[in-house]
């Protein structure tokens, strides 16, 4: 839209000063340039992934720096200056928080706490070791006259050393994930990088302050050390406080779901800023805040908000990181460098040396305390994976001008970063592969895994109590009790005490549901409503009102088009049940494990052999007897939507059939205990049905889509007498439509026990 600039208060059409088209650049300059830079960086990122091979071999940070170098080259030749965005304030207040929040939020909590000691050890002691070691060695080098850098004081050396000891995880973690190193290594590197940012910044401020002083007293030193601890702990406590406050706030946001993500971000940022205000470690504050609040917040907010939060955090974090690397490249070309062969090369050498040494020594000390000690390969991975990156660069760039050799430091930092990122970043992957670092044995977590993990924990805790010994399980146990009794009640809105087993179970269900929906070709109108339905953990009546029959129809159609099912005879595990014609026929649909995707695409819908199919649905027909009158059939529907509906949707209409409306998605487990629906018309007989809910989906529910499985409840109810097979009853919990499909492993038939 042409912007007419009104230079003349009285517009005079005759005058030529008034233009029809003008450009008012200065007005939009700043936001415009920022947008362009971010866009450019994003294009670069998109571009890298065009060729998958590139990102496999070359870490993204390398590529970004290269692009930055190119752009810098262009700018330099045009004699342009790079945008002055990288000021101290801009970095510390705007660019660093998202990066750190990203790391903190996505830190896997359980392994983190299990390895907490190790992480802290490497982060704090390791960084101190590095900084002091490098600082002292460089100071020694400075004394040598040949290099001509005698003017650099000890404090300044320490400052520089602390800058180049900050390790950057991004590139390394991607590599680690790709080659699936074992969890311990991953979490230690991750945690170390996170906390060492905090330590580095603290040291940086410390040495900065100290460097400005002419004379350093011993008292000052002790004060500084004390300050160091205050800063660290203060940040932690602060963060935890904010985390709890956030969690508490989200308890009340039930009615205003839209602003939930905003609250999370605001509080995190606030934690950061206020920590900056008091000059305590803001990085620690924001990280601990994210860690503490994540657990409670994710229970309080809706699914959509949860996704939004995660996405936004990832997005902003990655943008920030990208920009910094990009600028690194640009600045490399465009700044005035001060080069000093000796100093810089020795700095590089010492950086690598001290890190390697540090890891070696520290591991030796901490290994006895670890249950899984680090072997040499792990140590190599740790040491070699110490790439420097964004934080180092920013810290160097924002050094105050009163440091004499600022340019030298910047050059030195850039050299170290580029060396580590390019050389180490590119070679670490083949090296680790070659060395065959211990791989993770963390497959997809099954319910069995979770149950047994829990079992073992309890066993060990019990045995400990028995022999009167303490260990970390004791503390964990105590904390969990405290958590359940007090914290959860305060901070979580609907406090259904939940064990991790159940949580995992629900998560698996939901994942499958989402997976299924992702597969839906075309019609995704059902998806949002499904998600929103999941949010309602309300009682039956409410959700029934919100549950539109058109949604249901859509969902049915979608599901029916994309699922196939097999009839299968299932067998109850245990005892008797009443006679077949009374209750039996319930439709059960079970789906077998592994990817729906594969099965769908392969189009291998012809289920002759269950083995070939990765998906199976086992369903019981309605109203049939258990015997071989209904032989196992496999029905396959390959997308034509004509699902044979044996489900009778209206239980009302057919009194003797039990409503197997496996129509709608499952409810979350913990609401099962809620009162059974009132639609329980038909079989007044059964007290066994008290756990079930009938879905009263209304008569306009189409008959075509009818999937879902439910919890195999009450399978004990279904044994037929005298028959070695029995149908298993699966009650439906359909009123709250929540998960379209539950993934089930293969349903096991088993001989029922005799009475």
């Amino acid at each position: 839209m042409p912007q007419v600039e009104d230079t003349d208060p009285d517009p005079d059409p005759g005058e030529t000063t008034q233009a029809v088209f003008t450009l008012n650049y200065p007005r939009i300059q700043i936001p415009f340039e920022i947008t362009l830079w971010v866009l450019l960086a994003s294009f670069a990122k998109i571009g890298f992934h065009v060729y998958h091979k590139i990102t496999v071999w070359v870490p993204e940070s390398c590529l970004l720096i290269s692009i930055g170098l190119i752009v810098g080259g262009i700018m330099h030749s045009l004699h342009e200056k790079p945008p002055a965005v990288l000021t101290s304030n801009a970095f510390f207040l705007y660019m660093l928080p998202p990066i750190v929040l990203d790391s903190g939020y996505f830190m896997p909590t359980r392994p983190f706490f299990e390895n907490f000691g190790t992480v802290l050890w490497f982060a704090v002691v390791g960084t101190l070791w590095n900084s002091i070691g490098i600082g002292i060695s460089l100071f020694a080098i400075c004394q040598i006259e040949v290099f001509g850098v005698q003017d650099i004081t000890l404090q300044e050396n320490f400052l520089f050393a602390s800058i180049i000891s900050a390790v950057e995880p991004v590139a390394v973690l991607t590599v680690f994930e790709d080659i699936s190193v074992h969890e311990q290594l991953y979490i230690v590197v991750f945690g170390e990088c996170l906390f060492n940012d905090a330590v580095t910044v603290v040291l940086y401020n410390l040495f900065n302050h100290v460097a400005a002083l002419e004379v350093v007293e011993a008292g000052d030193v002790f004060l500084d050390i004390g300050r160091f601890f205050v800063v660290g702990l203060g940040g932690t406590i602060f963060g935890a406080l904010f985390g709890f406050v956030t969690a508490f706030t989200t308890r009340f946001t039930g009615k205003v779901r839209e602003i939930e993500p905003l609250i999370i971000f605001l509080y995190s940022y606030l934690a950061y800023l206020i920590a900056e205000l008091f000059a305590i470690s803001s990085i620690m504050a924001i990280v601990i805040c994210a860690l503490t609040m994540k657990y409670y917040v994710e229970e309080n907010v809706s699914q959509r908000s949860c996704t939004t939060i995660r996405h936004v955090i990832k997005m902003v974090g990655s943008v920030s990181e990208t920009l910094i690397f990009f600028f690194l490249g640009v600045v490399t070309i465009t700044t005035e460098h001060e080069w000093n062969w000796g100093y810089i090369l020795f700095a590089l050498l010492f950086a690598l040396l001290w890190r390697g040494l540090g890891i070696l020594v520290l591991t030796q000390i901490i290994n006895p305390f670890r249950t899984i000690p680090f072997n040499f390969k792990d140590q190599f991975g740790l040491a070699y994976g110490g790439l420097r990156g964004a934080v180092s660069f920013a810290l160097a760039f924002t050094l105050p001008d009163n440091i004499g050799r600022k340019d030298l430091f910047i050059t030195g930092t850039i050299v170290v970063i580029i060396f580590t990122v390019f050389i180490q970043g590119i070679t670490i992957r083949p090296l680790l592969k070659l060395m065959n670092v211990r791989k993770t044995n963390r497959n997809q977590e099954t319910i069995n895994d979770e149950i047994h993990k829990r079992l073992m924990e309890h066993t060990v805790a019990g045995i400990e109590d028995l022999c009167g010994q303490w260990s970390h399980y004791y503390w964990k146990d105590k904390f969990m009790k405290f958590n359940n009794r007090i914290l959860r009640k305060i901070l979580i809105r609907d406090n259904h005490p939940e064990s991790s087993i159940v949580a995992l179970y629900k998560k698996l269900e939901l994942q499958n549901a989402m997976e299924v929906l992702d597969q839906m070709s075309g019609d995704i109108s059902a998806a949002p409503s499904l998600i929103s339905l999941h949010e309602e953990r309300k009682n039956a009546s409410k959700s029934r009102k919100k549950f539109l029959s058109s949604d249901v129809t859509n969902m049915h159609e979608l599901l029916s088009k994309n699922m196939y099912k097999i009839r299968h005879r299932t067998v109850s595990y245990t005892n008797k049940h009443t006679l077949p014609d009374d209750i039996t026929a319930r439709e059960i649909l079970m789906r077998r494990h592994t990817s729906l995707r594969r099965s769908l695409r392969a189009g291998s819908f012809h289920g002759t052999n269950a083995a070939k199919m990765s998906q199976k649905y086992f369903s019981l027909p309605m109203g049939r007897s258990l015997n071989s009158r209904f032989p196992p059939r496999r029905l396959v529907h390959a997308g034509d939507g004509d699902i044979e509906s044996e489900i009778n949707y209206s239980s009302i209409r057919h009194p003797q059939r039990v409503s197997s409306k496996a129509v709608m998605p499952l409810r979350p487990l913990n609401t099962l205990k809620e009162v059974a629906s009132s639609v329980n018309t038909v079989d007044g007989q059964n007290e066994e049905q008290r756990g079930c809910r009938r879905s009263h989906l209304g008569s306009n529910v189409s008959r075509s889509g009818h999937l879902t499985s439910h919890l195999p409840h009450g399978s004990s109810r279904n044994c037929s007498d005298g028959d070695h097979d029995a149908w298993v009853e699966e009650p439906q919990n359909n009123s709250d439509v929540q998960h379209p499909l539950m993934r089930r492993p293969h349903w096991l038939p088993q001989k029922p026990h005799d009475k």
Partner: protein, 206 residues
Amino acid sequence: MGLEQNEVSLEQIAILHNRFKQLSQNEETLRRDDLKTIQDLESNPIRYQIIEAFFDRRNFQKDGVGSVEEIGFEEFLTVMSYFRAPAHHITEEQREEIRRAKLRFLFNMHDTDNDGTITLEEYRHVVEELLSRSGALGRETAKGIADAAMLEVASISVGPMAPDEFYEGITFEHFLKILKGIEIETRMHIRFLNMDTAVFCKQHSV
């Protein structure tokens, strides 16, 4: 006394002996009731299984059967030695052996009727116990979870099954298979049984 890899040091034996004396009120043998009086154990969902494990002959030696009413210090120590962390420098075979032994312990905890398989009922029982502390979860939920878990085991160990087949129960081999992914060393050992670290002794008032 126990398997060779699971030896405990003299110091630890002394500590355990003290504890044994304390629990058994200075008698020679320990009974179930003595263990039931431990306060902290009250809040443990699987306390009965744990207590039972001490009296289960299968844990004493390889082919024991059934359970006993009272145990002496030797049996106490044998059971405790299951929770010893493996030493740093052992061969793969030994590590595997230890892993098997620990898993066998767990298996015995499940398999209460001693028939060599974990049936659905037994599994359900365990899951119910585990979830009983979470409060307010119905039995149906626990059943559901147990069923799903059984199905997983079947699908992993036996593979796809024809409609006529039955799955009897989890045998020890299947049990091993399904728990292949879990790191046993970290989870099933008690710190104080490590020779290197210090011991915190808590005096229980029994």
